[in-house]
Symmetry: D2
Subunit: 312 residues, 4 copies
Amino acid sequence: MHSPGSEVIGFIGLGQMGFSMAKHLHAKSSAPFVIHDMNRQIMERFQAECGTDVDVATSPAELASRASVIVTALPESAHVKEVYLGERGIIKGVRQGALCIDSSTIDTSVSVDVSSQIIAAGARAVDAPISGGIMGAKAASLTFMVGSQTDSDYERARTHLQQMGKNVVHCGDLGTGQAAKLCNNLLLAISMIGTAEAMNLGMRLGLDPKVLASIVNTSSGRCWSSDTANPVPNVISAAPSSSDYAGGFKSRLMLKDLGLASTAAKDSKTPLMLGALAENIYRHLASDSAMADKDFSVVYQWLSAAGTTRKD
Amino acid sequence: MHSPGSEVIGFIGLGQMGFSMAKHLHAKSSAPFVIHDMNRQIMERFQAECGTDVDVATSPAELASRASVIVTALPESAHVKEVYLGERGIIKGVRQGALCIDSSTIDTSVSVDVSSQIIAAGARAVDAPISGGIMGAKAASLTFMVGSQTDSDYERARTHLQQMGKNVVHCGDLGTGQAAKLCNNLLLAISMIGTAEAMNLGMRLGLDPKVLASIVNTSSGRCWSSDTANPVPNVISAAPSSSDYAGGFKSRLMLKDLGLASTAAKDSKTPLMLGALAENIYRHLASDSAMADKDFSVVYQWLSAAGTTRKD
Amino acid sequence: MHSPGSEVIGFIGLGQMGFSMAKHLHAKSSAPFVIHDMNRQIMERFQAECGTDVDVATSPAELASRASVIVTALPESAHVKEVYLGERGIIKGVRQGALCIDSSTIDTSVSVDVSSQIIAAGARAVDAPISGGIMGAKAASLTFMVGSQTDSDYERARTHLQQMGKNVVHCGDLGTGQAAKLCNNLLLAISMIGTAEAMNLGMRLGLDPKVLASIVNTSSGRCWSSDTANPVPNVISAAPSSSDYAGGFKSRLMLKDLGLASTAAKDSKTPLMLGALAENIYRHLASDSAMADKDFSVVYQWLSAAGTTRKD
Amino acid sequence: MHSPGSEVIGFIGLGQMGFSMAKHLHAKSSAPFVIHDMNRQIMERFQAECGTDVDVATSPAELASRASVIVTALPESAHVKEVYLGERGIIKGVRQGALCIDSSTIDTSVSVDVSSQIIAAGARAVDAPISGGIMGAKAASLTFMVGSQTDSDYERARTHLQQMGKNVVHCGDLGTGQAAKLCNNLLLAISMIGTAEAMNLGMRLGLDPKVLASIVNTSSGRCWSSDTANPVPNVISAAPSSSDYAGGFKSRLMLKDLGLASTAAKDSKTPLMLGALAENIYRHLASDSAMADKDFSVVYQWLSAAGTTRKD
């Protein structure tokens, strides 16, 4: 019934991530394709790059009235609420049985609430936040973490998500996609700061950073932050730290995800000892405009600046 | 000049680690072998197990007067100071050119100070702390992190250390072996608490712990604490958490290493944000006698107990 | 025009705080008085204690249609939103020019939003959260921290608030009453944990707690948590700690206020280093049902339990 | 026997604190007076200011051979060890029954150890660290916290200490003077950072800092750091913050005291959650040469810089 061949695909949110994702989805699918973005120029650019068979909708509601599968890629909770539940939102036009796939990273509770309202309106909804960044979106190598009410919702979503990424993981019920994403990034932030602290201490104690990293990476301290994205410049040449912390995952985006984690922790009465401190360290450093837009491994620079000018 | 064939080997400290290490070293070496421990019975047991060609010395000084290579394996800084510099310490009998290999994990500054005094007395000294635990000592699969003043000291130490382990890494100057060990364990403690926080949060949000671990372990949150020693019971069957946190690396020993890291950080004026909190979390939980002797991943239990009895 | 003599007073929320506050306001005012609470029995009890001239409203909307001044005393943000903006909320019946005084402690952003909507509907609104607890409510000795759009709103609110308390402070614009309350309680929580840490350390080092408190209280470490509510039992006989942490300000309520502070900090991108840790310490201990309902100075017990059973 | 009239007073350490203290002690006492400092010029200056009846000793040992009461005022543990126990230290010349009063702020364990060795050598010793700073030393308004083995040691010390200060408090056994000092300063640092966080948050939420301070200072958040040394400039005109954080208690000295507290905590296995973080916050900011020598309330500047340049 929901075979890909009979679908009409709608895509809302053609930002840095969404544009590349939508291009892959359009290219790999023969289904009619309709897009929407608040920015008209970006829609025209998409048509210019992908062909005039791509339709443009003037609102989420209008798009929803035409699509059987809708993918959304939006920056924050507020945008998701507006696009789904606003006056001209998806819910005002959504077709019975249509599947809404939200790939935004937002508050878990907002995600569950929005999905539940869509389902109550007679459609289906899953959360499918992304790991992999802009490079992954361009390369169609993203990982999607999917929360769904039923296995069949997941299977139906997977058909489309695999056009845009290489891993699609079923995490559990609604909201668990968001939960998995933010738990991973919580641990990532803690590991990165921990790596920065350990590397900084070792260098102060006379260790060569490459030697220290090689030891840690073959020992119990190893982690992605030490063996792939080591925050000390020139330890790993492909890491953002070796390019003045350009590219990568911006500090202010890590701060956003830590905010989602701490909200989820508050709501579920879960203590986050290191996590709470990690969030506030990123809040401190992200307030420095020179660091906010650099890769989050720049925390090493924030930390190690301490001491370089010390007096005694 | 220092060919293994002409050496006399002394070993001081036949505790849980040292006993197994000394057995391997004795078994794989044809050199005359002399031991010392404060506990006479443990020395008799060693002779009973390894043969009566093993000599017993009544003090570190006496042992030092007979050995050209001395390995020490002691619990804390105070013991190392006493055994090396005490009234009947190694320094009172050490032979010119003898090599002292201290495999204890102790304060970096104490290690450098003791080694420097030994060298000033005409002998050689390296620090060579161990990673791998009691199981590694029994299996001769330990990793040694070596700090030495010269490459030749390192090479000479390596000849003997490789009888007791499978990895011998040259970290740099005196004290860098200690530094590498404590930096690794600092990051390990932070990663473990971070993993416990992320797993606990995810489970509160409805995720199955095995699913969450599988996602994290193929994403940027992966670390040894999540993929090898996951602190949630039954996620990884071989992890201590799946055996009621038995075996593994005891919380009170992790606390000891974090204490060494914080002392080194204080001495070098290095800020440890997450590290300082990690130390005090372990100080809090290690004060519970039921947790102090369990694997340090028991921090998950300490953390997640919060909430199980909550009222509202 | 708004002279007390011409007012009709409405009061919503007859919980532990509200009941005592409403009794004082009714007793000291000759104005007609109408009450509302979700719990019918509590309204009957209020009438039984205060006289049958007290009217009962069946909803916030109905109460609002009759009152020129409305005081609300509610537990959390969600209740305030429902009572003010819900289907049968105040906004559905509020009279032009009526003054709404919300004495609840809630999210600053929710408070500003609710007040703004009430004002947009043609009435007036101020936030006036309370310090002083149940004892203060009974004794009419509360402090009210008032945020208002205009000075005249504040003056009008003060007329009524001073019937229920002894201090009424104008903090600034809408929301600043909430802000002042949560900033005070943030500092209070930090000071209390700090006092617990310092007292615990001093006692471990051999100091008599009374001697230590007397020194701190005449030195730069002095604070309300040390000189009035010292968390160590029997240092100050009137402190909750000397009565097994009964009475006082419950840990779970402190946790609630720290949650409001951290939300405000997140929204305003303000780093809270100690504050974030304080919140999570209370989250950890408040999850223990034996501690959640005890005075928040019980953090001393949580902290000092560490060590009493230590092994080495 | 130890009547002030029969004493010979020795004073070692004529730094910023010691010079003023010694001047008061000399001026108010008719006893013969002998001084020692590593810096000959400072001794000559003391003689120039106080008269040629002041004798100069060439070493602590020589001074000790002549004095019945010795006051020491030294910067750190290492200096105390050297002056008391070194090759030309007090212990080499100390007279039977002489009283040594160490007013330095040092490691509790070092203090107890040094005092115990002096007592074992036949003299008496107390620890008497100071609160009150350079201004207090000049005004003879210091507070001394005294740890002594006996009440009579304390009484004898008090006779002399009250010449240099206005409060002399008996804290308990040897080392408890040090313990009281560091516990007070631990709480002070936590309160100051807490005040900075609360003030910063309140201001971000629209509160006038003077209004917020006035509320906090009459509420449960009040503390010395808010009502006497408020870290926000121009809230309290006499506070260092209102003079660009000049004067007061330098950040790097607060860091030193937090280091003593954390060492004592480690030795006594006492968890310091906020305290550990406070130490590392000061370590981070004190590494900035522009902040290290400013009053420790400059932590407000460190904290609030966050956000001033934020981008979104």
